[in-house]
Amino acid sequence: MLVEWVAWLLRTVAEAVFPFLASWTWIPWYTIGLIHVAAAVLGVISVIAMFLIWLERKVSAHIQDRLGPMRVGGWHGWAQSIADGIKLLLKEDIIPAMADKPVFKLAPMIIFAASFMSFVVLPFSRTLIVSDLNIGILYVYGISTITVIGIIAAGWASNNKWSLYGAMRSAAQLVSYEVPVGFSLLAGVLMAGSLSTVEITLTQAGGIWHWGIWRCFPFSFIAALLLYVGALAETNRTPFDIPEAESELVAGYHTEYSGFRFALFFLAEYTNMFITSALVVILFLGGFTGPIPVSFVPDFIAGPFWFVSKTLFLVFVMMWIRWTLPRLRVDQLMSTCWKYLIPLSLVNLGAIGLWVSLRG
């Protein structure tokens, strides 16, 4: 029995891998191209993250009747994030004496790599995508959960009370909100009937009235809202920023991190904001498609434009919410998820399922 099963497994793997290896001749060229793509994506991520950090500071400042950074780089301190990045690069790297050093060093890498890998499936246009995985949504859902491991590792390895508390809270929060996020993603998948991000987007092509958010109104709208709320929690942002509640936990799981390792956490946080917002855009807001069916510019310009602007708008709303709402208490956070969001998302999923199966 066992032997048969192992044999089957080996055969399956071999069947999948051999044709791939058989055509190894193209691999070097392809890989070199791929490295260029990856480097470009890294550049995009860095620019996006630095821009978002600057944006957050300006948004928060203006909401709070301040000005925010004004000096570095001249116009409204546009170079502040670059300066901060250079500063963090030059900062001493302090690892607490009692820290679990390998884990401590690994944690920011895990978190950054996870957020970086999610970019593989973000469709900036019909063709401008690294890989249109046929399980794109599931892939993002899975990869983004790896962040939890990084956070727990960071909190555990720091040998600091605040870090550990922050990590535990963060883990509890991330896994809890994973559930409504998952159901809401399912709702989107149900409506589109595919897991590929490009295909999902294409089902919404043809103008704003085709977007997923209207498809099973109001259930699709509720699903979008739940996904967005879950996204806030998944990125540890106010009002769900209990894991790094500075008034009680200093800085939560990254209390002990300094220098470039700290920068990685920061980079990952803002990258994740972009990715989660992008997910909402892909599933419910038409992705790279424009609000009107007629296109005056080629797709490789209009696609990224619409995709990035929609996503940035959602990121802006995240910031807007952060500087409006106070932080939830940890028990409120948990009961909001388990007692309201999860039942609601379940019912909502059922309704969309009914809708889809009845009306096709």
Binding site: I63, W323, L325
Partner: protein, 165 residues
């Protein structure tokens, strides 16, 4: 306690109202800086109110000698124990004693102003409006008598030298 209605429990209207408030501020400040209170400090000097408690100074009598009689009431009132006075006999028997040493540790000071309240001679004031004390070493924050009297400017402290006494 008043029980919340369903709408109140949902919090959504309140959240939206909160978002409206922040939006109003955001755009008002973005477009016209209408509410912004930021001062660009070194270029735009900060105005301190007349009652602002800044760095201390010691007052003088009409003849130029310190008003302080070394009664140590300021040192007694000081909750941070930052005032150190050593009294000495004055040549003039009608004056009796004077502060031979009067040092304030501006790092320990909590700027509560109790020394000013305690002083029976109006010898110590905190009306200099100086709030940006800076020095390169902790010991340079020990402001001696001549500095508090204004005989000497704290300029050399900024230059990283010890205050002369």
């Amino acid at each position: 306690m008043e029980r919340l209605t369903f709408w109140q429990k949902l919090y959504l209207p309140e959240i939206l109202r909160g978002l409206a408030v922040t939006t109003r501020h955001f755009f008002a400040n973005l477009l016209g800086q209408r509410h912004t209170v930021t001062q660009q400090y070194p270029e735009q000097p900060t105005r301190v109110s007349p009652r602002y408690r800044g760095r201390h100074r010691l007052m003088r009598k009409e003849d130029g000698s310190p008003r302080c009689t070394a009664c140590m009431l300021c040192a007694t009132a000081c909750p941070a124990l930052c005032i150190h006075i050593e009294a000495a006999e004055h040549e003039d028997p009608t004056v009796e004693k004077y502060p031979a040493v009067f040092t304030i540790d501006e790092l320990r000071c909590v700027f509560c102003g109790l020394c000013v309240e305690a002083c029976p001679c109006d010898a110590i004031r905190m009306d200099t409006g100086v709030f940006a004390l800076a020095a390169y070493k902790r010991e340079h924050f020990l402001y001696p008598r001549n500095l508090l009297l204004g005989d000497e400017e704290p300029r050399h402290i900024a230059e990283g030298r010890a205050p002369l006494d």
